[in-house]
Structure formats: C-alpha cells, structure tokens
C-alpha cells in the first residue's frame, strides 16, 4: 500500500459505518461462523453514528467517534479482511499489531467536524441492525472525505510522532 503515516488523503468510494453496539454483534457473528452484514474483504469501516438526516439530505452530522472503544473488536475485523478503519484517537497495541500483520491502515477524520463531513457523504443506507438507531450499520458512498493516516503497515503511529514533536514532517510535504 502506498500511503504512509502522516499522509493526508481524500477518500472516495464505499465505506461502512459501525460503532460500539454493531461491533459487538459483528464480532459475535464472526465467532459463531455467521456472515457479517457485508463482505469485509478489502472494505473500510467508519466508526461513526450519525445524527438523523434533515429533509433533503442523505445524512445528518457524521464525524468520527473515539476509536479506542472499538479496540477489543478491531483485530478480529482486520483478520476478517477489513483494509482500513476511520475514527479518532489512538489505538491499542493489539490493533496496531493487527494493522501491520494484515497490511492495513487506521485513518483519522476530524472529530467534531460533523457538519463538514456530512457534505462528503453522497449516499447512506441502513443495511443491518436498524433497531440500534444511530448505531446501525450503514453503507455510505463518500466523496473526498478528508482523512489522515495514523497507523500504517510499517508500524508508524502519527500520535506518537506528534508526542515526539515530529508530526507533520511528512504531512506538510505534499
């Protein structure tokens, strides 16, 4: 994969939103050998639970939630074929290992920029666990969703670099 820690990327295509409750169910499904609501091979999960869509819009505010809460479940999903996750905040050691092992990515979107990110979402449909409301799994079509690469397959971590005062080194190169 060509993108590296610190790269800023505009993402276009299909992503699936899922957060706490949906993760619990998806991982339970994996453990029982049942299928997930979508084929995880090569897909992207966005840790996000939107506010309801106002009239004429496909979705409401749609920024990332804290990824750490999904850390217990994330390795199993990377194992199942997920290529990238999007959220905010640092990941556990186990998740970072899974990212290296499966040559995957962890991306951050801007926390609290829900209205701005809403404009990048062109289609949204609930595909599973509708009873979970904002926590249902949604299939989203995004266009130019701004994200920054936090963890890459080389084991680098942008939050760690920031702590050591070297963040932005690569991000500012573009």
């Amino acid at each position: 994969m060509s993108v590296r820690c610190g790269d800023r990327v505009l993402l276009s295509g299909v992503v699936f939103s899922a957060r706490d409750a949906a993760h619990k169910r998806m991982v339970a499904a994996l453990e029982c050998g049942e299928p997930l609501p979508f084929d995880p091979a090569g897909q992207v999960i966005y840790y996000m639970g939107p506010s309801p869509a106002p009239p004429g819009r496909v979705i409401g505010a749609a920024g990332p939630t804290t990824s750490a809460r999904m850390d217990v479940h994330a390795p199993a999903l990377y194992e199942a074929g997920i290529k990238a996750t999007i959220g905010k905040g640092p990941r556990s050691e186990a998740v970072r290992r899974a990212i290296v092992e499966h040559e995957a990515l962890y991306l951050a979107a801007i926390g609290g920029a829900g209205a701005l990110l809403s404009r990048c979402i062109k289609e949204a449909a609930v595909i599973a666990y509708a009873e979970l409301g904002p926590e249902a799994v949604r299939r989203l079509v995004v266009e130019n969703l701004p994200v920054i690469v936090v963890n890459d397959a080389h084991g680098d971590d942008l939050y760690e670099k920031a702590r050591q005062g070297q963040a932005g080194a690569r991000a500012d190169e573009e």
């Binding site: 800023r8 819009r57 505010a61 951050a108 609290g112 209205a115 904002p134």
Partner: protein
C-alpha cells in the same frame, strides 16, 4: 413573601427545546473567537488546517442547520430557581425532559441516551435529561443548558488529593488528565476544574465552571493566576488540534471552588471538546399577589 412568580412547565419545555436546538447548530461567539485566535497562533500546517476545518464546520452547521457534531450530547441543565418561583403544570424534570424530547424529534438531534448502562437500550429521545437544581433568591428561573458529548465527558477525572499535595497536586492532576485524554476528547478542549467541596460537589463545580464565558478570567486573582498557569502547561504538552501536534491543546482553563473538609482536597476535571455547546435562558413568571 407578598407575591409569587408563576412559571408554566410548558414554557420551560419550550425554552429548553429551543435552546438545545440552537446550541447544537450555532457555535458560541467566545469559542469562535478562541478558535480564530488559535489559528493565528499555530505554525504547523496540519494544526492550521484542522482549525480552519473547524471554523468551516461551524459555518456549514449554521447554514445547513446540521448539528456541529453528530454527538449532539446529553442535555445537562443547571437550573437556578428563585424562592418566589412556583412551577405550574409539572415538575422541573418533566418540563426539561419534554423540551429535550421535542428537540430530538424536530431538529433532528441524535438519540444518544441508553436507558440502562449494561443492557444499553437506546431511549430514542435523550431523556431523562440531567437536571441540577439550585434554590436562590428572586422571582426568576434561569436555565443553563449544555449539550455534552461522550468523547470529552469520558476523559474526565475525580481525584481526592490530600491537603498536603496542595496547589502543585492540583496542577499535576489537571495536566495529566488533559495529557491522558489526548485526541479522544477532540482537542482543542476547554478544561473545567472543580476544587473543594466533597466527592460529588467537585465534579459539579467542574461542570458548572464550563458555563463561564471563555473571555472571562476568574474574579479571584489567585484562581485567575492558577488558570493561566495550568493553561500554559497544558498547551506546552504539544498535543495540539486533534492530537496531531501544535500549540493549542486547550482554549481555556476554568476553575470553580468551594469550601471543603480539613482532611480533603477534592479535584475534579471535566473536559469539553472544541464543540463546546451551551447557553442560557431566563424565565420571569407571572406575578401573583398572595392573599392576606
């Protein structure tokens, strides 16, 4: 008392509902100003980009009527009720809940309350709201309302320090809390600190401190100085906007204090994210003379 001031529960509901909607789509001027100042201060390109995106976000929110953040928060109400006020047509909790329920149905705001912490069934309407009541002199009902998101709220902390740990201990607790919160609390954050009281008043003080306009320093010079010192230390952490490095980890440190036990020094830290949503409304009831 010669007269009472009658406030109708339905007026409370209407005021709360309007305020809950308003604060979720209109970033406060003091936060806006602090973000603009931060943008002027930051040198790193990624920090500047993020701050610019947050400023754009609030424009879009205002224009499109889409909430600033998808986590439209639990509704937390601090109510000051004058001793002449009589609430008619329901309890304060019922009146606030009705307002919250209507706002969630209409805005639309996100349903973020689960009815049971372990079973975790979504209530669907963000009730019950969290209501704190203070009884004061006067004929008014003042409602201060905050939409409090989970990301920042989860990173708060209460420490029962010993008096010997003193000022230094307080600074350490606050700085460590912000450091450990890192990107999870959506920095730049606003840091509410509650000093003193007891095990439950310190966190209440910390949250109530967050209602202060960020342009105002604490009226007591010693506390104003402590706020400035902690803010400088927090911003020296280098966490920066969204945790990607920079000078702006916090926009303000706001302290409230209360008397406490000779054996205790409670310190509570309640963090608010940059999407710091709060406001207030004052209801003046209908005056009625009491019969002799």
């Amino acid at each position: 008392m010669e007269s009472v001031s009658i406030v109708r529960a339905e007026d409370v509901s209407k005021a709360v509902g309007d305020l809950y909607r308003e604060i979720n789509t209109h970033l406060r001027p003091d936060v806006l100003e602090a973000l603009n100042e931060a943008l002027a201060r930051e040198e790193s390109e990624s920090a500047r980009e993020i701050l610019a995106a947050l400023l754009e976000n609030q424009d879009i929110s205002r224009e499109d009527g889409i909430p600033l953040c998808q986590d439209t928060g639990l509704a937390v109400a601090f109510v000051s009720m004058g001793d002449q006020v009589v609430l008619e047509g329901g309890t304060l909790q019922e009146a606030v809940d009705e307002g919250v329920r209507n706002a969630v149905a209409e805005q639309p705001l996100r349903a973020s309350t689960v009815t049971d912490p372990l079973e975790r069934r979504n209530a669907g309407d963000n009730t019950p709201a969290i209501v704190h009541l203070e009884h004061v002199r006067g004929d008014r009902l003042v409602i201060r309302l905050m939409a409090k998101g989970g990301g920042a709220e989860n990173m708060g902390r209460l420490c029962m320090l010993t008096p010997g740990e003193g000022r230094e201990g307080v600074v350490r607790v606050v700085v460590e809390t912000v450091r450990d919160a890192g990107a999870n609390a959506c920095p730049p954050v606003i840091v509410g600190v509650g000093l003193g009281g007891d095990f439950e008043t310190a966190p209440l003080l910390a949250k109530s401190a967050l209602f202060r306009d960020m342009g105002q320093r604490h009226p007591e010079p010693a506390l104003a100085e402590l706020e400035a010192e902690i803010l400088a230390q927090v911003n020296a952490l280098g966490i920066g906007p969204q945790g990607f490095g920079g000078r702006t980890t916090a926009l303000a440190v706001l302290i409230e204090q209360a008397p406490c036990h000779i054996a205790s020094l409670p310190v509570a830290v309640n963090l608010a994210c940059h999407s710091h949503r709060h406001g207030s409304v004052t209801l003046k009831g209908e005056q009625k003379r009491l019969a002799d």
